[in-house]
């Protein structure tokens, strides 16, 4: 019954990078609640990005990495363990359901319109009117429509860093994913752009479930509903964000949150 509110569930998950003996993630168990924001926090090298990057199997770009355990996705399609996917087409479908936003904005070297249309075209959308409608909608959803509506066909590289990041979010939102993964989405941005992105993420959760990796403790507490604290490849503690920040169960969590290390 509890699964009803879950979009993803990580179960006994181990991850080992190519050419390394020790697993970088050990026996991770983590639920991802539907239409909530889950933050992954922890010091550098704790494995939070590694975990995030497993959730859309982007690790597969580099050969030799090993997954063990389960990451179940309860998306539009039925429950599936995404670690069992092997065909390229299945992985492509997974990535359409589980989008990702990176630390540095990654606009493609093409127009603003084409950037957003790109994923839709990859997904097989050909009808011009529909494409245009979806692109406009995505730009509106990502709160960047006002700034871009008069320059849709100029290069996306001319946008500011914050605008580029929102464009990347629009690009991901356009595919109507179940989950959006954010890998430190604001660490390359100024405070004002950061504020805009944070506001955007908190409105997005009506449509999608969000997992966000962040180094910024205030960001985690402001934004997220649930927080997982990781340390040296272990998941130390997972709970409601409030609990983690106000009343953590583990000494380690408390030490990290109060800034005693990390």
């Amino acid at each position: 019954m509890k699964n009803k509110n879950l979009i993803m569930k990580v179960k006994d998950f181990n991850f080992t990078y190519a050419g390394v003996q020790e697993p970088s993630l050990k026996q991770i168990n983590l639920p991802i609640e539907k239409n909530k924001i889950t933050a992954l926090i922890g010091p550098s090298g704790c494995g939070k990005s590694t975990l995030l990057r497993a959730m859309n199997r982007i690790h597969d770009l580099y050969p030799g990495n090993q997954y063990q355990g389960e990451i179940n996705l309860y998306g539009k399609s039925e429950k599936s363990n995404i670690l069992e996917l092997t065909k390229e087409n299945d992985l492509i479908e997974l990535r359409q359901q589980v989008g990702m936003i990176f630390q540095k904005p990654t606009p493609f070297p093409m127009s603003i319109f084409d950037n957003v249309a790109y994923g839709l075209k990859l997904a097989g959308l050909k009808d011009k009117d529909e494409l245009e409608a979806k692109v406009h909608k995505a730009l509106q959803d990502a709160a960047i429509w006002k700034e871009t509506k008069d320059r849709l066909h100029s290069s996306a590289l001319g946008l500011s860093g914050g605008q580029q990041q929102r464009l990347c979010i629009a690009r991901a939102v356009a595919l109507k994913p179940d989950v959006l993964l954010f890998d430190e989405p604001t660490s390359a941005l100024d405070p004002i752009s950061t504020g805009a992105i944070e506001e955007l993420i908190s409105t997005l959760k009506e449509e999608v479930s969000v997992v966000i990796v962040t180094h910024n403790m205030q960001q985690a507490s402001r934004l997220s509903d649930y927080t997982a604290f990781m340390y040296l490849g272990d998941l130390i503690e997972y709970d409601k964000t409030e609990t983690i920040f106000m009343n953590p169960a583990q000494k380690l969590t408390e030490d990290y949150i109060t800034g005693r290390f990390g």
């Binding site: 859309n56 982007i58 770009l61 580099y62 050969p63 390229e88 492509i92 479908e93 990535r95 359409q96 989008g99 990702m100 990176f102 630390q103 540095k104 990654t106 493609f108 070297p109 093409m110 790109y118 994923g119 990859l122 997904a123 990347c168 690009r171 991901a172 595919l175």
Partner: protein
């Protein structure tokens, strides 16, 4: 006090060196322009070598260089793409990368001799194809190196972003990564073309030279650079003047291609 004197000495030495270096360059350019322009006339471009012009030489030189480009550009680009995007930096890839770098600095005369042994001697004579092959061999490693380097400048996040949007690897490479590296690769191709258009050694005993206009690559093929090499040593004034004119034209061609490459890189920024 000591430091001030040392500073002045170093400044003097570096200025002097710069003046010497640039001085020689200008000396060459000025002599070339002076002697070249005074030997140029309209008939230089309309006549073939046999009539004291360079028409067939220009056509021959460009024909061989362009044919070499047509072969070398796809091979070099695909090899570069494989090295950077598909090889995962395996040991084989590093061997190929190093070999390609060595090939790039291989003396061009050695490539000429190699092609002579394989494509001239067995076929009973100098031929245009051998010249094209020699130029192709010169060009491929340059294109590999450029493609490899320019692709390496494309941030890996861009590839990941494409994959994360549901692209397949080859689509992302063709539609995004190469697009992002387009200017750099095009510039590299232009510069490599400028490099082979001025080569003499690989042609000297592959295509050799021809006084007549021909498009038949199975025969000796007219070449601007080999002609300069020959004409410059002739005793008569007319031949030497033609060598100056041809050198001047060649320099202008190389200069223009180089400037085009630079112009493209600058526009990118």
């Amino acid at each position: 006090m000591n430091r001030l004197i040392l500073n002045k000495i170093v400044l003097l030495l570096s200025t002097l060196s710069a003046v010497i270096g640039i001085g020689f360059l200008f000396w060459i350019l000025i002599t070339l322009s002076y002697k070249g322009i005074s030997s140029l006339s309209l008939s230089t471009f309309t006549n073939d070598l046999v009539e004291g012009g360079i028409r067939n030489l220009l056509v021959g030189q460009f024909t061989m260089a362009l044919l070499a480009s047509f072969i070398a550009i796809p091979i070099g680009m695909f090899a570069g793409i494989w090295l950077r995007e598909y090889s995962n930096n395996s040991r084989l890839a590093n061997v190929i990368r190093n070999l390609s770098d060595i090939m790039m600095s291989a003396p061009s005369i050695v490539i000429g001799v190699f092609v002579y042994a394989l494509f001239v001697a067995p076929f009973g004579g100098y031929n245009g194809f051998a010249g094209v092959i020699a130029l192709t061999i010169m060009m491929i490693p340059i294109i590999i190196n450029t493609t490899d380097n320019m692709l390496s400048l494309v941030p890996k996040e861009l590839r990941e972003a494409g994959i994360a949007l549901g692209g397949s690897k080859h689509k992302i490479i063709v539609q995004i990564v190469i697009k992002a590296a387009k200017v750099g690769i095009t510039t590299g191709i232009l510069l490599s073309f400028a490099r082979i258009i001025g080569e003499t050694a690989p042609l000297l005993f592959t295509s050799a030279n021809s006084q007549f206009f021909t498009m038949d690559l199975t025969e000796q093929f007219p070449s601007l650079t080999v002609s300069i090499y020959n004409l410059a040593t002739y005793p008569d004034e007319a031949s030497r003047n033609l060598a100056w004119a041809a050198s001047f034209v060649l320099t202008i061609i190389v200069l223009i291609i180089n400037l085009m490459g630079r112009y493209m890189t600058r526009n990118k920024k």
